[in-house]
């Protein structure tokens, strides 16, 4: 009985992984062959990029502020409060900016992709699209995938910048330290490998968010209840996989660009 359940679960996991791989591969390869839906791509850029900018900006700002607040106590023990700017900028650019942006956008957009496509599946709109001679993978999935990758890159830059501003706000107005020192520390200790690390991660996160959101949306079954399940699965799996992928990428990137 128990072995049967384990066997079934293991098979389900392997099958889902296989289906996801084929799904993601098809979504990527579609970009190399016409038709390409540029209007849908731009619309998705607007939804993912412009639509998420407010939450990314606010979460970045407050995360930077919290970093400055938390570091204040520890750094002051060593008389090193002057390096707050360096601490905040490096942490935001290398780690928290990409990961937080990924998770915020996953919460907002992986869920919306899964629920939108899931609703289309259960109301037979996807079948109708196929019946009308349009490939839903090309029309719906590929534009979402590339728009998410493209816009997450810029959203991460926005989160990094506002994180540094948030740290500056706390440092200057709450910790009463020197602003020039904060910004010079933040700038002078930045290296290209830090920036490469910080800007490579959102490309992977964007891929994870859109591919998982669309994958769960397109395989929705079971009516409106199924749409709810797909939405939850999309947010949970994309968030967890973003953090896991971040861990792997950090390991690899630290090997490629070892800290001085």
């Amino acid at each position: 009985m128990a072995i049967g359940i384990i066997e079934r679960t293991a098979k389900d996991i392997v099958l889902t992984a296989q289906e996801y791989t084929l799904f993601a591969q098809r979504a990527v390869l579609n970009v190399f062959r016409p038709p390409r839906y540029w209007t849908d791509f731009l619309m998705q850029c607007n939804i993912v990029g412009v639509g998420s900018s407010a939450i990314v900006l606010l979460s970045g700002f407050f995360t930077g502020g919290v970093l400055a607040l938390q570091s204040q106590a520890t750094l002051s023990e060593f008389g090193a409060t002057a390096v707050t700017g360096r601490f905040v900028s490096l942490t935001m650019i290398r780690e928290l900016g990409p990961v937080l942006t990924g998770i915020m956008v996953a919460g907002r957009n992986a869920s919306s992709m899964a629920s939108e496509l899931g609703s289309m599946v259960v109301t037979e709109q996807i079948d109708a699209m196929r019946a009308l001679g349009v490939d839903p993978m090309r029309k719906l999935v590929t534009p979402r995938l590339f728009a998410c990758i493209f816009m997450l890159f810029f959203l991460t830059i926005l989160a990094d910048a506002f994180g540094i501003f948030g740290g500056a706000f706390v440092t200057i107005f709450m910790n009463h330290q020197n602003g020039t020192q904060y910004f010079s520390q933040a700038w002078e200790h930045l290296r290209y490998p830090d920036i490469i690390q910080g800007l490579f991660k959102p490309l992977v996160s964007g891929f994870i968010i859109a591919s998982i959101g669309c994958f769960y949306g397109m395989r929705t079954t079971g009516g409106t209840e199924g749409v709810g399940r797909s939405t939850i699965d999309a947010v949970v799996f994309s968030s967890v996989i973003i953090i896991f992928a971040d861990f792997l990428m950090t390991q690899v990137l630290l090997t490629l660009f070892p800290p001085i």
């Binding site: 079948d127 009308l132 001679g133 349009v134």
Partner: protein, 299 residues
């Protein structure tokens, strides 16, 4: 013999046969005055399909001749919609072959299927209109993808909406339409490219009797005007019999009953029971069959 060739019915009156069999042949008179003896538009040969459980359809064989309207009857959950989706490759059979316009859709890739699907029109159970698009964009969906000029699109959408008597809904969104209006817009969408085959999936399901009659009148109008072959799924006997015993009068602009004792020779029946095709024949054969399940269904 119930139907009479050469009646006032405006459809074609050539003779011909259609079915490849599968049903336990009901004892009946041969059908005369049938659609042309040409190559069938759809041929099912021993088709079976299952989804994680017992087979939904088993060993189904039948065909749809040019200009023929086939009405697929059966209780809910018997596999009628699945059968319809198999025709244009929206689902793949586990066994058997399905020829659509002479090509085996069971062996074709999704990419290869798109040109074939464009030649067919399908009306889904609930309409399946794109809720983020206006009625105009829904009806013109295929034309927009083909980058047809806007003026041409508007003209053809107006034509299609006039056919279903909904021209006033041009700029509305599906959310502001009633259930019956949605089905009529879905019919307009299916017809706009003048398809060579139309598939209707329970077009009157869940509608009130008056709206159902309007929808059936549209199906009849399409059958008698354009003579497009079609397959209509329904569990409403009343709709099926109306289609068989009426014709669309273009002068009056509405359907009228055929003379007493006559039926449309190109409208025939299929019936499913637990995934098996148990009947394939005319209205006359249907009402005189000895099959217990068919008799119970009719009663």
């Amino acid at each position: 013999m119930i139907h009479t060739p050469g009646s006032a019915h405006p459809g074609p009156h050539d003779s011909g046969a259609h079915a490849t069999g599968a049903a336990p042949a009901p004892a009946a008179e041969p059908v005369a005055g049938r659609a042309a003896d040409a190559e069938p538009v759809v041929v099912f040969r021993n088709v079976s399909i299952a989804f994680d459980g017992p087979p939904v359809l088993q060993d189904i064989s039948f065909s749809v001749a040019p200009r023929e309207t086939r009405i697929l009857l059966g209780p809910a959950g018997v596999g009628k919609s699945v059968l319809l989706k198999l025709i244009n490759g929206l689902l793949r059979p586990d066994q058997g072959s399905i020829l659509l316009f002479g090509q085996d859709v069971a062996t074709m890739t999704e990419e290869q299927l798109f040109p074939l699907r464009i030649r067919t029109g399908i009306v889904f159970q609930e309409g399946a209109l794109f809720d983020s698009l206006t009625v105009r964009d829904n009806v013109a969906y295929q034309l927009i993808q083909e980058r047809v000029p806007d003026e041409e699109i508007d003209r053809r959408v107006h034509e299609a909406l006039t056919f279903v008597e909904l021209d006033r809904t041009f700029d509305l969104y599906p959310a502001s339409l009633s259930g019956g209006m949605k089905r009529r817009v879905a019919i307009a969408r299916a017809l706009i490219r003048q398809p060579e085959l139309i598939l209707y999936d329970s077009p009157t399901g869940g509608l009130d009797p008056i709206t159902s009659t309007t929808i059936i009148e549209l199906v009849m109008k399409q059958r008698d005007f354009y003579r497009t072959p079609s397959l209509l799924v329904t569990h409403r006997l009343q709709d099926a019999f109306t289609l068989c015993t009426h014709r669309f009068d273009s002068a009056l602009g509405r359907m009228v009953p055929l003379p007493k004792g006559e039926t449309d020779p190109n409208t025939t029946f299929l019936m499913l029971e637990e995934g098996r095709l148990i009947f394939d024949g005319s209205l006359h054969e249907l009402v005189h069959t000895d099959n217990k399940f068919v008799r119970e269904f009719l009663e």
